[in-house]
């Protein structure tokens, strides 16, 4: 009788189950994956200030685009992480 009870207890204690649900973190939009290009150079031998201005202002625009891309990356990650962690 004792053996039966010991065997039965062992059997009952093995009754465990785990069922995984597969999840993947969302893909980043391809727009955010594009790298920022290098800053433009002023052509050698330029003496005109207007040409220098053009290059400098183009570089400013480039910076603003990259700055915004960086802000969006952060926003994308924070929002997606919050959404991902909401599943419990």
């Amino acid at each position: 009788m004792k053996i039966v009870l010991i065997l039965a207890t062992t059997l009952v204690l093995t009754g465990c189950l785990s069922t995984p649900v597969k999840r993947t973190f969302p893909e980043v939009p391809k727009e955010l994956m594009e790298l920022c290009p290098n800053l433009k150079d002023v052509p050698e031998g330029t003496t005109k200030l207007s040409d220098v201005l053009r290059v400098v202002t183009d570089n400013y625009s480039q910076y603003h685009e990259c700055q915004f891309k960086n802000e969006l990356w952060k926003e994308w990650y924070d929002t997606q992480k919050q959404n991902f962690d909401s599943v419990k």
Binding site: L11, G15, T19, V21, P26, E44
Partner: protein
């Protein structure tokens, strides 16, 4: 053990539930019969087998019923999770769409501003160039500053 569980999974849950209850009830009946049998003449010889058999059936029935209930609870949990994951994936898609729209809108604004600035330069080009000539050293410094700094090799 897994193969057995897999085979059992083909039996409908309601039928399994019924079978497990029958096993438990059979066990209880066996134990009760084993206890009562001691007062029944000729039947007492079987009593010593009935009681352990009843106990075994009760344990087996409770184990199987517990397993089924756990399985049901897990299935429900998995279904809930799958539902949550599906909704989360839909939200993730919406977030991506929103981000892309935001990006395109802002890049358009930046490009438009750039065009306006270039137009302004064009307007004052002659005036600016007439009053100032840029030294080649200034161009070199500007270009050096624009270069991406590389790590110095030691």
């Amino acid at each position: 053990m897994e193969q057995l569980s897999w085979m059992i999974s083909f039996i409908p849950d309601t039928v399994l539930n019924l079978i497990y209850w029958v096993i438990i009830l059979a066990g209880i009946t066996g134990v009760a019969a084993g206890w009562l049998a001691r007062w029944v003449p000729f039947y007492g010889n079987y009593a010593r087998f009935l009681k352990p058999l009843g106990v075994l059936l009760i344990i087996l029935g409770v184990y199987l019923k517990g397993g089924l209930d756990t399985e049901m609870a897990w299935r429900q949990r998995v279904a809930d999770l799958e539902d949550q994951v599906k909704k989360s994936e839909e939200r993730a898609g919406q977030i991506n769409e929103k981000i892309v729209v935001q990006y395109k809108d802002r890049v358009k604004v930046i490009k438009d501003t750039q065009i306006v600035v270039q137009e302004k330069i064009k307007e004052v080009e002659k005036l600016v160039d007439a009053k100032c000539e840029v030294a080649p050293e200034a161009v070199t410094i500007l270009n050096d500053a624009a270069k991406k700094p590389e790590r110095v090799q030691k």
